[in-house]
Structure formats: C-alpha cells, structure tokens
Symmetry: C2
Subunit: 720 residues, 2 copies
C-alpha cells in the first residue's frame, strides 16, 4: 500500500536546500496533511516535481520587505535575541520540532488569532467551538488517520539512526550527482550563509566520482518523482543502487510506516488508546448535529476552531515551518451540495484579484501564474464553485489585512491525483519565504466524506432535514408482493427472487407490467435459482403506477474547509515585514520589523530620556491613558541610549515611540517617532495620544500626522 | 511511601455527596495539584477533615443569583441544550473527563481569558509566553512530577473495575454507617433531585445492619482522615475491615500508585519518553534566563501563560470541575527573597476587603471566616508578605470584575502540612457552588524551589546578578594553605584535612589563629584520619584577617504563583449568575444567566419581528454598526415568537436585545430590551446603538438609559 502523497508533502529541510540547486523541482509543502487518499499508487500523478523555480535559487534571491537580499542567519539571530521564539527545553538540550513563543512572538500570535477571529468568526457569525485534543482511537480510525497518517522510515542497523526513507534516498542520490558534477569539472553552488550545512557536508561529502550518463539520467528521474514512491519501492531503490548511510557506510533497514500521531492512553486501565489530534476538524464534525440544532436548523452555517494539533514528525529541522506541536485555525463551512454551492455574499468579493497557479498549468509542466478576479475564476470554472471561491478570496483578504506581502502570495490548485479522492477541488495559499513557497492555508471542498464516515460508524444522523417549500411529488412504478403466498411458493429461493424484483429499474418495471397484463405472469432473471429464471404469477405480484408527496428532504452537507497554520503564517509574516536600515557610521545594518499596527506585538514604546525621577509621573500618566484607550504599550527605562532603545524596538516591530525629556517637564509636550521613517513630531501629550489612536486604528497615515503636528528633529542623532 | 496530600485533594464526586451528609468534613478541593511534598506521612496533619459545613447540606441549600434554591438538574439541562459545553466524542459514546465547549461556552471562555489578560498581563506588563505542552521525561523528573504526581488505585479482580483506593474505602465505610443509622431508626437524608444517585444506591445499597458503637467510632475516625492514608495503609484498611466492591462482592487488589500524567513518546525511535504537561509553570521556569534578559535584567518581573494542561484522572465524574484536559492561566512572579518581598503597588490594593479562612482557625477545628483588608492581613502577618498579599487582592478584584458573586468567595490558607515543604505561604480562592467550596485559583509563595532544582540539574544559571549600589565590604578570617608542601605532608589524608579546615567557622578560626601564633601549629579534629586529629604547622597554613569588596550580588529569585483553573471559574460563574424567572401562566420557570456584559458570550441579540423582507436592510445596518463598534451581536431570524427568542437568549446570557418591527420601517426606531428586568425602551437606531455602547462599556446602567429614552411596553406580552 502506498501512503498518501499528502502525507509526504514536506518543506525542504534546511539541510536539503543545497541539493535542490541541482534539479528544478517544486518545493513540497506539508500542511495541512489531512487530505489523504486511497487512490492506488500507479494511478497517481507526480505533483511536486513540476519544474518550478528551484528552492535554493529562491532562497538565495529571497528578499526583505524593501527588496534587499535577505540574510536568513542575521534574521534568525535577531528573532532569537528578541525572543520571538526559542527552542523548548533548551537548558535540557532542547527537543527538535518544539518551540516556545517568547513575549513578542506570543503577542504577535495572539494578534493574528484575534484578527482571524474578527475577520472570519465574527464577520460571518461562525459557531466557534473548543474541542478536546485527546481523541480516542476509534474516532481517528474512522477518519482514516490511524491507517494512513504515516511517513516511511528506516533505521541504520549500525548506529541506530532513524532516517526518513524518502529524504534518505534523495540525499544519497543528490550527493552522488554532485560528485559527478565535480568530477566533470562543473561548478557546484555552495551556499555561504549556512555554516551548519558545511559541517554536515563534511560527513556525507560528495566524492568526485564520475557516473555513466545513463545512471545520471536514472537518478534524475528518480529524484523527479521521489514523493511518489511507497515504502516497498523506496526499499527497492535502496537495494538496487546500494544506498548507504554516509555516517556509517551501511545500508539502512527496509522502510516501515511510521504513524505521525502521538499516542497515549486515556484513563487508568490502558484499555482506551488515544491520540493527540492531528487536526481540529474531527471534533467539529462530531458536533455537527448539535451545532445545526444550535443554529436553529438553518443552513448554510460554519463552525470554527482555534487550537493546538500535534504531528510526530520523524526529524523536524525547519524552524517554525515544520513543528510537532502547532496552532491551527480551521473553519468547516457546511453547504447544501445541490444548487451549485452558491454563496450569498459572493458578490462582495467577486472583484478581488488573485494570483492563481491552476492544475492545468502545473500538469503541462509550467508554473506560469494567472492574475484574475475570483469572480472570473468561478465563472470560467477554474475554481469549482462560489462558496469555495468566496473563501479563497476571504483568505486572501485576511492575509492582506495582517500584512502579508502581496507580491509573495499565490493560490496553487491541487491536481486531480494530489487531492484526496473525495475532494472535488482544493487550493493552497502559499507564501514566498527564504525556504521557497510555503503552504500556509489550505482551502478544500471536502464533499460529504467526513460526516458520512462518522455517521456510518456511529449511526448518528449527521444530516440536514429540510422542509421542502414545494413538496416533491413522486410518480413511479411500485411493486407489491403478496408475502403470504410468495414465501411458501418460492421457499428457499424467496429472498433471492424478492431481491431481484426490488432491483428492477423503472424501465424494466414498465415492461414487466405489460408482460403481466398480457400473460398473467412475469419471468425475471435470478442467477441464484436453478435455471437462472423465476416465474411469478399475478396472484403473487402487483405492479402499479403510484404517486406520493415528500415534504422533507434529507441530505448530508458538503464541507468547505479553510485551514490555517498559524505558526507558518507568523513566520512568513516576519520575513515579509523584515528589512534592514544602514547606519551612517558603517555599523552593522539594523533590523526593522514593519508590522502593521494591528498585529504588532506592542503598539507604543515609551522612553524616558534618563532615569531622572521627574519623568516618572509623565510615564505613568501616558501608560494609563494608552491602556484605557486599549493600546498596548511598554516602557523602556533601561540605561541604554535613546537610540539603542529605539533600535531594540525596531527589531521588535513596535510602530511608534514616545520620548519624555526635560522639555516635557516644562511644557508637557512629548515626541512621537514613526518606526519606519524614524521621523518625529512633537506636541502636547494628549494630542500625541490622539494621533497614536488614529495611527493604530489605520484612520490616518504618518504623513497625515506630520502635516498636523510640528516636526521634531534632533534625538535620532543619538542613535548609536 | 505516602503520596502527597495535594494530589489527593479532590472535589466530592456527585455520587459521594449523599455520604457526606453523615460526617462533618471539609470539601476537598483538587486544583492546582502541583505543590506536592516529601514530608513523611507521620509528620502530616489532616487538613481536609476540619468540620466545615457538610457539602451535601451546602448542595441542598445552594442558591441562584436571586437566592432561589438552585435546581442543578434543570441548570445542567439548560447548559446542555444551549451548548455551553457537551461531552466530547458523544456520538462515539463519550470519554469521561473530556468536554467540548460549544459556541456560548467558547465565547464565555474567550472573554474570561481576555479579561484575565487585561487585568494581569497588560496591567502589569507581564511577559506572556506560550510553551510546549509536550514535555520530555527529564524535565518532569526534575520537577518531581514523575515520582509524585500520582493517585492510589486498586482493581476489582472479578470485573476488572478500576477504583480510586481512597474513594473506595470512603464509599464502603459510609455505606455501612448509613446501614447502621437505618438499623438504629435514625433519619437518613436522601437528596430528591438526583435520580441517578438513587439508581446508583440500589447497587451498593446500605443494608440496615447495626454496628457496635466501637466500630462506628473507628469508621468515623478513619473517614475523618481518609486523605492522610498512603497506599499501603489503604490496603491494610481494605483487608482489616474486609471491604468489598458492592458490584461484585469481592475485595479489590492492593492499591498501586497511578501517575496522573499522560505519557507519550516524542520522535520516531521511542527513546524519548515524554508527557503532556500537568501545568504550564515548568515551561516558564525553564525560560527564566531568557525572560530576565528580555526584561533588560530588571527585577521584579512576572511571566504569564495561558494554555491547556492535562491530568489523567482515574475516574472523573464531576462535570467541568474535574476534567482530564483543561485550560490554565498561570503567573510566575519573580521577586528578590531579601527585603521582605515588598510590592511597589501594594498601596493600590491595601484597602481591598477579603473573606479569609486562615490556617490557625482551621487547625482549631473551626471554619469561621475573618473579614479584613489585605493591608491588615499583611500587617498582622496573617498573609506572609506584601507581594503575596498584592496578588491575593488582585485575584479577588479579577473575580469580582468578571461577575463572581461576592458572597460566594473566600480565601482559604493552606495549613503548614498541607503546603509543599518548600512553600512558605499559600492561599486558595474558593468559590461556593452546588458542589460546595471549589478551589478555583491557587496563590502560593513557592520560594526558590523550581529554579533551584532545574539549575542544579542542568547547570544553567537561573539566577539574578544584581549590581550593588553600595558595594559590600566583607571582612573575615581567611585560610590559605601552602599547597606545595601540604599535599606531600599529609599524603592520602590531604583531602580530608583540607575539607576539615575549610569547614571551620569564623569563631573557630579566631581561636586557631591564636593557637597558631602561640604554638606555631594548630590541631584540628579530622575524624577520617588515624587518631581523629591532625596537626598542621605554620609553614603549611596561613590564617589572616582579610577585607574584600563585592559589587555584584547573585540570588535565586522566589516565585509567587497565582494559578487559575479557567474551566472551574467558568462553571462557578455560570452558577453565580443563574436564576429563574417565574411565568404568569404557571409554566416552568425560565432560566436566565445574568452575566456582566464584559464576559457575556454575545452582547446583543437582534430580532426581526418576522421574516418580512423589509426588515432585512435594518438588520444588516444594525449588525454592521455594532460590528464596527466592536460589539458582538447575533441575529435570530428564526420563526419562533419574539418571546421565545428572547427567552432563548436569556438562557444564553445575552444582556441586550434589539427588536425590529413594522414601526422600524416607518420611523427607523427600534426597541432595546434589558435581559435582567425585561423592560424596554424605544428610540432611533443610532441612539439605541449609543446606549448599547454605554451599557456594554459599563458607563451607564439600565436605569440611567430608561431615564433618557422613552419606555416601550407591549412586546413582552408575547413572551410565550
């Protein structure tokens, strides 16, 4: 059995970016990992191998907000220094794939979630729920996760190292190809900025061994479809090409499936195996009936949930982009499958312009994107239906609202074989980062799959019962059997004959009624009885033209699911808003995070010029006024220079700074500094607070404030 | 080994309330369970057995917000109907101790958390962090949870039932005492309102068997200290009194310790055992160094965290009061242990009046509470220090702010043996509910314990380095050994002699220096060497009076920890704000949840009189205006009568309702209804929205609004 392609969709690990330079390939994305499929491997199309821009090239050309080359090492060091996030349990050596958010990361995350809740839940009256993370075995067995939510792994028999099979094959073949290139005297690209990689390289360094041209071609073909191999096939490749772990020089064991769910046991008797949920969706599906009831049976409606989910990655090494514990925000929008899945607010978004990479383009080996409105995309059938299109546009507007760079976002459509078999269309919002295009939001039409499997398993009626405005009149041929005589007549063949009659179509019945009227009996095919035919006389059967009225229609709603990985969005947002400011003295460039005020961890920095006690009442008064206006502020009364303190807060992404100096004591004026331009104005404290309010609410721009309040010049000189 | 008393502190299960009627005892609380102790069992004092008001009596006298008898069954049914919370995975049969929050519960929880964040984190510039739930073994081994975070359980060998040992002993003995009472013809109190309990009783029904007076006394003494037995002792009781599981008639197996943490394995190789954190605190402690650095080394400061924690309860049966997965909000305030732990904002709260149940009162067997200001409590030493007192007062103000009934809150002090051995004072905020007094917030002074054990284990310097304003001059006797000669002289005894010298006190050194000057040698006790004494001549040792200056002081800060169980607070808040309204027609009383607007799940209900299409634009306009004012609203355009729709929203705790009727179409006026009084005013939509704003912000009362806007009468007639 092949495990799903979806499960194998991975971000390139930092350590694999070097290799990526050698073959054009898609940057695989991993999230969300849910939409697995049961399509047999031979029927699948290799999705991720389309020649997109190679990731490593992207990485080296990754840019800051201002178009400067992005130095990832410098950014990482800044994020660590300012405690945006930090490896969990670091004083105990850390655990890969687990991160703690420090104060600015935590506030940034809270603000993104807050905007999400406003943009989706409140704006559309969604029913937010908070469901258990601990989930019993049976639920995830039914959903398919127990059987399919897995990666292939193998083990080095010598040193016990665990290897992800596809990554291992990929790494060894790429190393060999690199050695071949060296032997041929071709230039091998080496990334300068990652000292770790160099170290790693020395371990599995490529020997300059020239390969046959035919072998090079074979390797390249394998690499182009690496995500399409199942465990057995990966094992065969390891044997065939004698792939050895460079660390030990031995072949690893054959790949085995490793389920990515964290397992535990609920209750004291160990008889209830359970897992940490891999997604929030299942809890929402199980509550469907109650939510429909809560919504006074009105359709369509959506539930939403924000919470942690867990995936036991085999060897996570990509910072916040691949983690074992992560915050998700998911919407399950329930819609009637009939009537074309229209959305009553679609007109509000139809003019939203999107960058789309559709499946047809990808299937033809291209990555040329199309720019068009969502209205056009739905009209031309590129996007399957209005409701799906509505949410794609809403996702776009959300990402724009929180400050995602509009030139670094695209929606990529899943190709037929990439999607789960039950889904009818799926688009991912991908954001461009130094690791290439990262899947940050998935938006899938999941049809009625989940509700159907849970209903089937539990018997719970996860359906909508709709009173028909116009009752449905059904006219048709119906069959009635004279049971009392029928049974004794056919004896042991009774059931088979009855089943054969019930299986007859309306057309057949029309013929049978004619036969019955003409001959007084019908003869039908029943393969199970002797002779293969049964004769039924008219005293045993009645076939009549009947008419009945239905007032209620029952249906299982379809689910449109926008699913957000908050950590990935947060990290991409950081890169999109990062840039560096040169210094006159030729010092190291200073980092700035130009977050929009809505998501900035802190809105205002309050800086007293020195520790002079006369400043304290002014600091207190400002703090209190800002707090009662609901604007988050922080005081920095450390002994560092004003310039250094502002510099620190540029790195924290604080959009505004207020300085209290000796003039404040005399005339109650303070200065207000704009993070992005470093320009300042000076006015009375109350006027400044009013300006802050307008800036934070997005009602005025800094340029407008500069026209209203007197410019102040002087302090920025103390910058260093 | 006895497991900690703290671990045994439990809410009475609903099924045990009946028994509680027969002996006066404290209602044990369970949360937080952290502060375990290593004090040997014999040294411990039985804490929970003080004759407080018996829980069952409390339960039967539990009252609503308006002082009506609280019918818990009716309330529970309402909460379920309105989807405040619901058992998780119910269509799969459910899992005890796991609950999902539906839309109103989820919004109520979010609002409580939001208020918490404003009241604590923003108000005091705390450093909020979000740490991993998955925690490796070593961290929780060091913190003590791996060894001590356990309950005693035994198993019925016949039916395999798992029993919590202390609960089992308690249940059987209480059943016997009940049978004795019946045999003696004494009245046995039976609670009417719980049909489940009656059923349960029939299983383990008390036979009317009279016991010897001496046996009755023995049983009562055992019950009085049930929480004080360890597993072995509980096992001995089971044997001695032949306690049998009423379901099977057999004795259960001897008790074994059951660790309450959910275990899992991190990564693919199963070599990293881990747990789901039982509290958020450890993640905060491990980040201490980075947080101190983030805070520019300034002390005191606090970190804070809101997140889920997990405890694998043996058999949770008390609704939201005992669950396996729960939301916690914890603060770790780091304070210098020197200087009396003053708090610079203590003066702001010193007049806050509290209801205190101190340890001395409890130790004397009383539950008489004292009413006093926190200023007085700290001044008299009842509360250990200002910082602890400051947070106790702040907790009180928080609970008041979100709508906790001020007559149903008290702070109970832990007694010496109830506290963890490292804590120096601890107070719980307890809220009175139908299950008795429930511990909802703990506030402990945890001294330097956690930082010390983690620093010791990892070598990380979890300390504060403080530059001394006045450098400290230290004058003392110091010893210098002539190492070159010392070693060869003493040979194998060298180390022991050196250690003995280093261990000498300043007083001893003063004597030794005299001896050295007078005799040219010193003789000191060294038990390890032959003869027990060592002679050291003056060429080997120098003892001098020295003087040195220290500029830096290093210390491990103490931690004051306020720790909130959000689910328990949420449930208590529901009970405190619940009451019922009689109906004129004599119908069943209608439930109301009078939440303050700040925490109410939805602030405004918008009700169009009917489905008439002319109402739609007015509904839309109102919704948009409220949304842009940041006020959450919901539209109920179902076909139910206005009265029924208002009634539904009274149950949901929505404080305000706006009706759109035919007059609205004519003159753009709408009515505004007050949930608590059901009175209404009528005015133009914009005036009504302004009034809503003022009511929700708490700037005006309903009475004030009634004076400003015309009263409207009429609609409430349609109530049913």
């Amino acid at each position: 059995m092949r495990i799903s392609l979806q499960f194998l969709r991975r971000q390139p690990l930092p350590g694999t970016q070097l290799q990526l330079a050698f073959r054009p390939r898609a940057v695989p994305a991993i999230w969300p990992l849910r939409s697995f499929t049961t399509t047999p491997p031979q029927a699948r199309f290799v999705v991720h191998k389309q020649p997109k821009k190679p990731a490593s090239k992207m990485s080296s050309t990754a840019t800051t907000m201002k178009g400067q080359p992005l130095d990832k090492a410098v950014l990482d060091s800044m994020l660590r220094r300012r405690m945006f996030y930090t490896p969990s349990f670091e004083i105990y050596g850390g655990v890969s794939g687990l991160y703690d958010y420090g104060p600015p990361g935590c506030a940034l995350q809270a603000n993104i979630v807050d905007q999400w809740r406003k943009h989706f839940v409140l704006e559309e009256d969604m029913l937010e729920v908070d469901c258990s993370v601990l989930t019993p075995h049976e639920v995830l067995k039914t959903s398919g996760h127990v059987d399919k939510f897995a990666d292939w792994m193998c083990k080095d028999p010598k040193n016990g190292e665990i290897l992800r099979a596809d990554h291992f094959v990929e790494d060894v073949l790429e190393t060999r190809l690199k050695g071949d290139k060296e032997a041929r005297g071709e230039k091998v690209e080496v990334k300068e900025e990652d000292p770790k990689k160099k170290k790693k390289k020395s371990k599995g360094a490529a020997e300059a061994v020239k390969l046959d041209d035919a072998i090079v071609k074979e390797y390249e073909e394998i690499l182009a479809q690496i995500d399409n191999y199942n465990g057995e096939q990966l094992g065969a490749l390891i044997k065939k090409y004698d792939l050895r772990n460079p660390a030990t020089g031995v072949q690893p064991t054959p790949p085995v499936a490793f389920n990515l769910m964290f397992q535990t046991s609920i209750g004291p008797s160990s008889n209830m195996p359970g897992y940490l949920r891999p997604e929030t969706a299942q809890g929402q599906f199980l509550n469907f009936q109650k939510l429909l009831e809560f919504n006074t049976q009105a359709m369509p409606f959506a539930s939403a949930s924000i919470g942690k989910s867990y995936r036991n990655e085999i060897s996570p090494r990509a910072g916040l982009l691949r983690v074992r514990e992560f915050l998700m925000a998911e919407i399950e929008h329930y819609v009637d499958p009939e009537g074309g899945k229209k959305h009553h607010r679609f007109h509000e978004v139809e003019d939203v312009e999107l960058v789309l990479l559709d499946k047809h383009t990808q299937l033809s080996g291209q990555t040329t994107v199309k720019k068009m409105t969502i209205g056009e995309a739905v009209k031309t059938g590129l996007v399957d239906n209005e409701t799906l299109g509505y949410f794609i546009a809403r996702i776009h507007l959300f990402l724009k609202r929180i400050g995602v760079d509009q030139t670094k976002i695209r929606f990529r459509q899943h190709m037929a074989n990439e999607m789960a078999h039950y889904a009818c269309d799926c688009w991912d919002a991908e954001l461009l980062t130094s690791s290439g295009w990262v899947e940050c939001v998935g938006c899938a039409d999941r049809s009625a799959y989940d509700l159907t499997v849970h209903a089937k398993k539990t018997g719970a009626p996860l359906i909508v019962r709709e009173r028909l405005e116009v009752p449905k009149v059904i006219e048709e041929w119906t069959v009635e059997l004279e049971k009392k005589k029928f049974g004794p007549h056919f004896k042991k063949d009774g059931k088979a004959v009855e089943a054969a009659i019930l299986a007859t179509s309306q057309e057949q019945l029309e013929k049978l009624v004619k036969e019955l009227n003409e001959t007084g009996k019908v003869v039908i095919d029943v393969p199970e009885v002797a002779g293969g035919k049964a004769e039924i006389s008219k005293d045993l059967i009645k076939i009549e033209w009947t008419k009945r009225t239905e007032n209620i229609r029952e249906f299982t709603p379809n689910v449109i699911e926008p699913s957000f990985g908050i950590g990935r969005i947060l990290y991409s947002l950081i890169e999109h808003n990062y840039w560096t400011r040169g210094t006159e003295g030729g010092d190291e460039a200073r980092g700035v995070l130009s977050f929009p005020p809505t998501v900035a961890p802190t809105k205002v920095l309050i800086v007293p010029l020195s520790s002079n006690k006369d400043f304290a009442p002014h600091v207190r008064s400002l703090t209190q006024k800002l707090r009662s206006a609901g604007i988050s502020s922080r005081v920095d009364d450390s002994s560092a220079s004003i310039g250094k303190r502002y510099s620190r807060n540029d790195e924290l992404g604080t959009p505004l700074g207020i300085t209290i100096d000796f003039q404040t004591i005399q005339d109650k004026t303070v200065t207000l500094r704009d993070r992005d331009s470093t320009r300042q104005v000076r006015a009375e404290a109350d006027k400044i607070i009013a300006a802050v309010h307008e800036l934070v609410d997005g009602k005025k721009t800094w340029e407008e404030i500069e026209k209203e309040l007197p410019i102040f010049e002087g302090q920025e000189l103390e910058m260093r």
